[in-house]
Each structure stands twice: as C-alpha cells, then as structure tokens.
C-alpha cells in the first residue's frame, strides 16, 4: 500500500512513498534517462523540461512522489511523435543548437505549443520560451526554428516572426 507507478515514455515504473527526490534526478540517476538534462535545479533554465500528462514542466521541480500515477514523456518519446520530429527537423535545418544542452527542453516545449494549436505572436512565443536558457546564446536561430516548426501558428501581428 502506498506504492505507485510513473509511466515514463510508455514504460510503467514503480515508485515508493518515500521518493522525495526530484523527478529529473530520478529519471537520470535511476532510469539512466540522460536525455533529460539538469541545469539550474530550480526551474529557471528549462533544460530538464518533460511533458507531465502532456504539459511541459521543469522536472527538477516535480517531487517524484507527485508524479505517481502520471504520464511522463521525455524528449525520447517526443521525438518519436510526428510533431516532435517536425520540430527537431526545424531545429536541425536552422542549426539552432551549439552545445545542445538546452535543445531537448526547447524541443519539448515547442512540440507542446505545436500540439496546443493556439496562434502566437512573436512576443507571445518569446514569453512561452522564457523558461528556457541557452548559455551558448543561440536564441536567434532557436526562435527562427521554433517559428518554422509552428508554421501558421507563429508570426502574428506584433512584429517580425
């Protein structure tokens, strides 16, 4: 009693009631899911972003116990989806990465935005990605790639896309 599970990229994993560690640490240390990067550990950089029940969140701020009974999709599962593949291709085409550490987080969030289907002005796209930091400062190409991937959803009236 009290034990539970977390579905990670389609595989059900058991967790206990004393699992106070952050989801990001559990994914990396216990499941060797090193595609989840950990940067700041306080929700500011977005490198550890995963989809929790389909919504992008910084996994460094999710206590593992709070993920019990929920679906976690890392960049691995996201890339296997049609939308995730489209976003990854846009990032590759725009050379929107240097060291690549921040890329999984960006791709997860942009894939979510694509699936959400709401039109975004450039200002709104910037705000949506404000939880992601690129220390190589490749923001220009990242924003162009995100706008390419979002297609008609991006590039609304408040400026150039």
């Amino acid at each position: 009693m009290g034990e539970g599970w977390v579905d990670v990229d389609g595989i059900r994993r058991a967790v206990g009631v004393s699992d106070a560690k952050p989801l990001a640490r559990w994914l990396r240390d216990d499941l060797a899911a090193t595609q989840v990067k950990v940067g700041c550990g306080e929700g500011a950089c977005g490198a550890c972003t995963v989809l929790l029940d389909g919504v992008p969140v910084p996994s460094c701020l999710v206590p593992l116990a709070r993920a019990r009974g929920r679906q976690v999709s890392t960049i691995r599962a996201v890339l296997e989806s049609e939308r995730g593949g489209r976003v990854a291709e846009a990032f590759a085409a725009r050379s929107a990465l240097q060291c690549g550490f921040c890329t999984p987080g960006f791709v997860v969030t942009v894939t979510y935005l694509l699936g959400r289907g709401l039109p975004l002005t450039p200002g709104e796209l910037l705000a949506e990605l404000s939880g992601h930091l690129c220390r190589c400062t490749g923001y220009q190409q990242i924003l162009l790639a995100a706008a390419d991937a979002l297609g008609d959803l991006a590039g609304g009236p408040d400026g150039a896309g």
């Binding site: 009290g2 009631v17 004393s18 699992d19 106070a20 952050p22 700041c40 550990g41 306080e42 929700g43 500011a44 977005g46 972003t49 919504v55 992008p56 969140v57 910084p58 460094c60 701020l61 999710v62 206590p63 116990a65 709070r66 969030t109 705000a127 949506e128 404000s130 939880g131």
Partner: protein, 260 residues
C-alpha cells in the same frame, strides 16, 4: 536473517529517515489537517519544496492533490489552482492579478505552482501579494483542529498564525486594475518592487509589493526610505524610486479606463 541488538539504533535512524522523506496522500481535509497537526509539511505545487534556490523543507510531506480544490467554486478560487490556470481565470476581469501572475517565474513553473502555495510561502519578492491586497482578497483556511476560517488577505499575510491549510481564495470584486514591477533584468526574476492599483468607487487603491516584509498600502500615505527593505539586490532608496515611478504609471493606466 535476524537483526542483532546493535542493529537497533541503525534501524531507528533508517525509520526516522524514511519518515522524514515520506509523502502522505490524505483522503480528506480532516485527515490532512490531522497529519499537519502532527508536523507534516503541506505541499501545494511543490516548487518551493524541490527548488535548490530555497532552504530544505523538512518532511514528512502532505500531498494536497485531491483534497484541496482547484478552479472556480462559486466566487472562490480553489487553492490548488495553478498559476497558469489562474492567469486564464483572471485575464480581463482582474487585470492586476493577471499581470502579476504573468510576471511570476516562467510558464513551466506556473504550470506547477499553485495560488495556495504561493500565498503560504510568503516570499518577499512575491508578485501576487500587492494585487491580492488591492482587490481586497480573502483567504479561506482550515486549522489543525479542522475549523474553517475566513481572513482578509493582508491579515493572513502579516499575521502570526498556527499551522493551517489554505483551501480557497476570494479574489474580491472584478475591477479595472494594473500592475507594474521590476525584477532587475529582462526575463523571469523575483520582483524588486511592484505596484498594484485597482480602481473603485472611492478612487484608486494602490499597494506596493516586494519592497517590505508585507505589502504596503500606498493610498493617501507619504513614502520614505525607511518603509523599504534593503538587500543585496536593491537598496531601499532605489526601491523607493521604483515605487514612485510605478505609482505614476499605474495611476495613468487606470485614469484611461472609462470613468477613471
């Protein structure tokens, strides 16, 4: 395999460690209140518990999902409402609150953090405090004895209180409002100073946030350096300058409303 007498202290230590990291999932508010009375830490969104930016929060922990409501309940907002949902709920009708939510952290954190957790944490740089005070919000809470209590937000924030669970928040009547803040840099950062204004029949209600250990009511009150807190990120004098600039800006925004 059997344990020896020498294993006793070790097993006791292990048991204490396991309890200290345990996550309780109460089935009711009464059970949650009882666990809290026994020392469990209530967890709303969990962002403060996990963040390395804050001190370790002692366990055991109390997972409030399913016990505390979220979304609208009549004119009340459930305390487990995420800031992301709160933004959608307040846009247009409580503009000062919506602007403060939009200034809080980043979209990913706002999808986890809750209004109840944000109020309970009472962080100095909190953006929500000033607009909630300006709208005259009420906090509904349950004490460790299970008794419900309705407290004006500003009293709840400022008052010494025993352990309690915030269950709902009444935002106050929807009115034209505005919020301006400065965090020291472009992008998500805790507020150094913020001013919320709400237009009502009696004029504009102005409150400053993040400048002291509590939101400060500004309406009809001269300001001085001594009112402002000083820390490594910002001097009291600079905070005062920011507040004065924001008062002018918020007031001018509200005067542009029809009937302002």
């Amino acid at each position: 395999m059997t344990g020896s007498a020498a294993d006793g202290p070790l097993l006791a230590t292990l048991a204490r460690t396991a309890e200290a990291t345990r996550w309780h999932r109460p089935g009711s508010l009464t059970e949650a209140a009882a666990l809290m009375a026994r020392g469990a830490t209530p967890v709303g969104g969990g962002t403060l518990v996990m963040s390395e930016a804050f001190d370790d929060v002692p366990g055991p922990y109390l997972d409030l999902r399913g016990v505390i409501p979220n979304g609208w309940h009549g004119d009340r907002v459930g305390a487990m409402t995420t800031l992301s949902a709160l933004l959608q709920m307040t846009e247009g009708r409580w503009p000062a609150i919506a602007e403060a939510v939009r200034a809080t952290a980043n979209p990913g954190v706002r999808r986890l953090a809750t209004i109840g957790g944000t109020i309970a944490a009472r962080l100095a740089g909190c953006d929500l405090a000033a607009p909630l005070a300006a709208y005259g919000a009420l906090v509904i809470s349950v004490g460790a004895d299970g008794a419900a209590c309705e407290t004006p937000f500003i009293e709840f924030w400022c008052g010494a209180r025993g352990p309690c669970l915030i269950t709902e928040v009444v935002l106050g009547p929807p009115r034209p409002g505005a919020y301006r803040r400065y965090g020291g840099r472009c992008g998500p950062a805790p507020a150094l100073a913020g001013v919320a204004g709400v237009a009502g029949a009696g004029g504009i209600e102005l409150w400053a946030g993040a400048v002291a250990d509590r939101p400060l009511r500004l309406t009809g009150r001269p300001l001085a350096d001594g009112d402002m807190r000083e820390d490594l990120r910002c001097s009291a004098r600079h905070r005062l300058r920011l507040v004065r600039a924001f008062i002018a800006e918020v007031t001018s925004v509200l005067l542009e409303y029809p009937g302002g």
